[in-house]
Amino acid sequence: MQNVTIAKESDARGSFCPGPLMELIRMIKGGTVGEVYAIISSDEGSKKDVPAWIAKAGHEFLGSEPFEGATRFLVRKAK
């Protein structure tokens, strides 16, 4: 995950469900196909919600990693 270039990152820590997911959706919607986007969430539900949405919406989930007590998710906009 260290080798990907991130086009845009959003820190949604402190925002409750479904805030971080909504922030990711906004970012992806306004993004460019092929680019990678990152969302940081402290909402525990995001660990299941974010990959579920990415799969449903047809984008590519590149993985998640712990980030200062929260979680950072990486997504490639696929369409």
Partner: protein
């Protein structure tokens, strides 16, 4: 997975309006069509600008009402009204007012929040909800 979620929103307390809004948002994000059917107190909560002053909480959990309200302010939780607006941005969410309640309380569509699309009857809602999941909140 069913591709449609229909919610009968009967309650007008902030906790339940919030639960319904969050469910609607999640379903919309997951690509489902969402129908909201506002009836009785749920519809009263959608009178124009009512959400700005509505601080009602479920009476059966009255002892938590103050704590819940304060926690929402402290954590800057978006209002259910704002959450619903987000749901409408990410997916196909349609909000309908129950004709019977409108008549009962002498309401017209222009008395409601502009996000309410139309007035429908129970049969119209049942028809809309066909072949999907339906919740009563």
């Amino acid at each position: 997975m069913s591709e449609k979620l229909s919610i009968v929103l009967f309650s007008g307390t902030v906790d339940k309006l919030m639960a319904a809004s969050i469910l609607a948002t999640g379903a919309a994000a997951m690509g489902k069509d969402v129908n909201l059917f506002l009836t009785f107190w749920g519809l009263m909560g959608f009178r124009k600008d009512d959400w700005k002053t509505n601080q009602k909480m479920s009476a059966d959990f009255a002892e938590y009402a103050q704590m819940a309200g304060e926690a929402m302010v402290q954590h800057k939780v978006p209002s259910w009204r704002q959450t619903l607006e987000e749901a409408m941005e990410v997916g196909n969410v349609n909000i309908y007012a129950c004709g019977m309640t409108m008549d009962l309380f002498g309401l017209k569509l222009e008395h409601l929040e502009p996000i309410v699309k139309d007035i429908i009857g129970v049969a119209g809602f049942v028809s809309m909800a066909e072949d999907g999941q339906t919740l009563f909140i």
